[in-house]
């Protein structure tokens, strides 16, 4: 048998079901990888003792015949999910040392399904970033490097630690959250699968809030099937999140195992052909179109006329909601407190010391666009544009069943590149943000490499709550692309 850490999540679960390995052995094998690759800085908090205890309990459940969907599977959890009695920081100084007295719904679901937590992964501070460079705990290193070039590359963001941990075979799967691309873009940068479900599919309860109308938890894994199995374990209606959809969870894993797309209509949005996209990515996209055609799909050109306005609209909506959500960090109830001579000075000093530069910038933008006299010009305008973006997708989905686009305009970049101008960094999410603004599901599938040997992903976008069709198409794309790349040394 292959090394336990080389197995896919599905195969790992099968091996444990066949008693070829115990959950404790599986946990130990993966914890060893965490030790070996600590230099990647993928984790903020490692929880080896908890992992071994959970694995032991898992083995006992299996012995009693009570094995769940994810029984014994080791997972890394983005440090944005509150985990009971385990520090949860959102990669911010302001939450350093915060130990939640409760567990998020998504992680509760995962533990109920039998999964084992190995640790909490690094991210951009409060999930605000596309490089993982804004973390208070330092950036994460992408396991991939350009051929013949030893410079460290970023894993993307914000869920960079979760993506790097899966790409480095430290875990077979992990959780992320996606507000504007924070699952799909790092998946593309790290050569793995990242799935952002429909808004409302996974509960946001217990996830540190960034932009509540956009935030959505989702999985990372190395195969489409694995991501589907994880989604199955994460999803479901939750009365504690009023925006959680009261819908049954379909058999996502079965969908991922049936990549039959004969007759499927794949839409190609013409507005996604924009300047600034690396030529290799455009070429890969064209190749992806041919692959879908060869698999029996019909290709339809569609138009999403408001695509280019999604990004600026997002940079009103997301900062506005963040400035409101982050008002709770006041140095009174949890997290950092910097003393002051009075209450106001304590608030101002605490927040100045506790938030990093990008978070402060977004809180300021959000406060400004929501301030008296500017609401209509900015927030209302952005929500109107958002309505038009949602309508574009609705019209497009009258003509097709899924959309195929690139995930990101470039491959992974080096730490420090693109750092001078915030707007340049924001452009990383140009292909992922439109679907976020419309609440639609999207998945990034590794589909090729660039001239430097770096992985590139293609994105499939589905109709709301139709992850099943999206997963079938993703499985077909995965099969055709046959991406077998692995970062050297991992």
């Amino acid at each position: 048998m292959a090394a336990l850490t080389d197995l896919t999540l599905a195969d790992l679960a099968k091996a444990m079901a066949k008693k070829e390995a115990s959950a404790v052995e599986v946990a130990d094998a993966h914890l060893k990888k965490l030790d070996e690759h600590r230099a990647l800085n993928a984790f903020i908090t490692e929880t080896p003792d908890k992992a071994r205890a959970m694995a032991k309990a898992s083995d006992e459940r299996r012995a009693r015949g009570e094995a769940g969907l994810l029984e014994g599977v080791p997972l890394a959890i983005k440090d944005l999910f509150c985990t009971e009695d385990v520090q949860t920081t959102a990669a911010s100084h302001i939450l350093e040392g915060f130990v939640p007295p409760y567990e998020s719904t998504v992680t509760t679901n995962l533990w109920k399904a039998g999964a084992v937590m190995v640790g909490k992964t690094n991210l951009d501070e409060f999930a605000m970033g596309s490089s993982n460079m804004t973390s208070y705990f330092g950036g994460v290193e992408n396991p991939w490097k350009r051929r013949g070039d030893n410079r460290k590359l970023v894993p993307g963001g914000s869920s960079g630690g979760s993506a790097a941990a899966v790409a480095a075979y430290m875990v077979p799967g992990s959780t992320g959250t996606d507000t504007g691309g924070s699952i799909r873009q790092p998946a593309s940068f790290c050569g793995i699968v990242g799935l952002k479900p429909t808004y409302g599919r996974c509960s946001r309860w217990g996830v540190v809030a960034f932009a509540s109308s956009l935030d959505q938890p989702g999985p990372f894994a190395r195969t489409v099937e694995d991501s589907a199995i994880l989604l199955q374990g994460m999803a479901g209606h939750d009365p504690k999140d009023s925006t959680s959809a009261p819908l049954a969870v379909p058999d996502f894993a079965a969908a991922a195992r049936s990549p039959d797309i004969k007759g499927l209509r794949v839409g190609i949005p013409k507005e996604y052909r924009v300047d600034g996209t690396a030529p290799e990515i455009v070429a890969l996209w064209d190749k992806g179109i041919e692959m879908m055609k060869a698999a029996g799909a019909s290709i339809v050109e569609v138009s999403l006329p408001h695509t280019r306005y999604a990004l600026p609209a997002y940079y009103i909506v997301a900062p506005a909601e963040c400035s409101s959500n982050l008002a709770r960090y006041d140095g009174v109830r949890y997290g950092l407190r910097v003393p002051g001579k009075d209450l106001t000075e304590m608030y101002e000093s605490t927040r100045a010391a506790g938030f990093g530069k990008e978070v402060r910038r977004r809180v300021m933008i959000g406060t400004y666009v929501l301030s008296a006299g500017y609401y209509d010009a900015y927030y209302k305008k952005a929500q109107q544009v958002r309505a038009l973006i949602a309508r574009d997708f609705k019209d497009a989905f009258a003509k097709c069943d899924v959309l195929l686009t690139p995930t990101a305009p470039t491959a992974a970049f080096a730490a420090g590149e693109k750092m001078d101008d915030p707007v340049t960094m924001y452009l990383n999410d140009m292909f992922t943000i439109p679907a976020s603004m419309a609440g639609l599901p999207g998945i990034s599938v590794p589909a090729g490499v660039d001239k430097d040997g770096l992985p590139l992903g293609l994105q499939l976008i589905g109709r709301a709550f139709d992850e099943v069709t999206m997963l079938k198409a993703a499985a077909a794309l995965e099969q055709a692309a046959a991406f077998k790349g692995r970062a050297a040394g991992y």
Binding site: F98, Y102, Y315, R351, K381, Q383
Partner: protein, 105 residues
């Protein structure tokens, strides 16, 4: 929209963020850059377009009006950065307070 130093200082106060005097000018430049980029939205005709209130068609549910938890004062106060004060030092479930700097003379 170009922001001046005074506007940035006012936003910082509203956001309860202490910004040192020397950072106001560069911050004004950065924020103005972002806002200028955002203003391309003015090209979009949004006359008679209703702002999107929610991406899902789900009607917000009402929950039953009953107490679902309680008696967890110690858990609630466990992370208090300024420490907590309990009403009954011997019974930490009875309730307590977060502490803040003195606000009345």
């Amino acid at each position: 929209m170009s922001l001046d130093k005074e506007t940035v200082a006012r936003i910082a106060r509203l956001a309860r963020l202490k910004v040192p005097e020397e950072e106001l000018e560069p911050l004004a430049g950065e924020l103005s850059g972002i806002l200028a980029w955002i203003e391309q939205l003015n090209e979009v005709d949004t006359k008679d377009v209703a702002p999107l209130a929610s991406v899902s068609d789900v009607t917000l549910p009402m929950r039953e009006d009953k107490v679902t938890d309680g008696g967890i004062a110690e858990k609630v106060l466990a992370n208090a950065p300024g420490g907590a004060v309990y009403i009954e030092p011997t019974d930490r479930h009875a309730g307590g307070f977060f502490t803040v700097p003195k606000v009345v003379e």
